[in-house]
Symmetry: C2
């Protein structure tokens, strides 16, 4: 999809932050994935969840259906993911997620993605080529510096300028957006 251009980014923009919970790596089963609706970087408007298969292939579809079936869908303007891999190597195709939900997607990580290490890890999994393709489909990794720290973003349906502004707007105590910080706390806190 063509990047959405934000004419104005309101301080109360509704953002969905998404992260997965704890799981036992390399086992069968699923992990909880939590979405938390924030107004800008402060108030929480709602919480939703789904489950994705550990090392499976259903993350894109499960996230899209969690978002599209939510009563908060109409208010949402953006989706932020804590990286693009959930429950191990269940990779989210962020371009596809952007298409299905019609919402811009920012996938953020505080660590620089080590693609070589990822490719090596993938080689132990079935359908490693298919997973690798989805990872590459996320496109360019943008390095971005705020409050003295580097973070790394992959984008779908949003310009780099708008993405940087939204990350800054929603990062309160550190250079990490509140919707993702809180999604992480909730997903970990309700796991097991």
């Amino acid at each position: 999809m063509e990047p959405k251009k934000f004419r104005v980014i309101k301080s109360e923009i509704r953002i969905l932050g998404v992260d997965d919970g704890k799981f036992v790596p390399q086992t069968e089963g699923s992990a909880i994935v939590v979405g938390v609706v924030f107004r800008g970087g402060y108030e929480i408007d709602g919480v939703m969840h789904t489950h994705v298969e550990i090392d499976g292939f259903d993350a894109t579809e499960k996230l899209a259906s969690m978002i599209n079936s939510s009563p908060h869908r109409k208010q949402l303007r953006l989706v932020m993911l804590n990286g693009i891999t959930f429950a191990g190597f269940n990779v989210v195709d962020i371009k596809k997620l952007n298409e299905i939900t019609a919402l811009p997607v920012i996938a953020l990580t505080p660590k620089e993605p080590d693609l070589e290490a990822v490719q090596n890890a993938l080689s132990n999994l079935p359908k490693s080529q298919e997973r690798w393709k989805i990872i590459l489909a996320a496109g360019e990794i943008h390095e971005f510096r705020c409050k003295g720290k580097k973070i790394y973003m992959e984008l779908a349906g949003i310009s780099l300028v708008d993405a940087e502004e939204i990350v800054k707007l929603t990062s309160i105590s550190s250079c990490f957006p509140e919707p993702l910080r809180v999604a992480h706390l909730i997903a970990s806190g309700v796991s097991f």
Copy 2:
């Protein structure tokens, strides 16, 4: 326990807000109960959870053990409960919870508790007298008005003056403390 006297109530006081998630009434099984650690009325520091039996008798013990085993325990200064009944009629003995955790407890409801209706509902459950005793043990129900709305509180280990101040401090958009509003959103949002 003697009510704890707060010499100063700091704006960043760490409060645990606790609420239960959805469950199918009058069935066997359990409901999730979520605790969310707030600094005052704004920042979320952590999330914890436990499960309590639907219409069971384990809520006091399960909440106490969730709190006492949490890495956040040392920072916590107060526990807020969304009422005293969880997962149906699994009643929390707030005096006992105060004793076991050594933390003051405020149980809050936006609706005036209708004790007659509660007593009638209890009569359909096993051990109704035992439940009724725990409900009465919560002590006086204090009506309290803030931002034009009434709310109702039962207290353990805290004075009415301190409890009112903390409720006001943590109520941002409406007369309902953020730790409880968000505990409710999380517990509902991750149920089923």
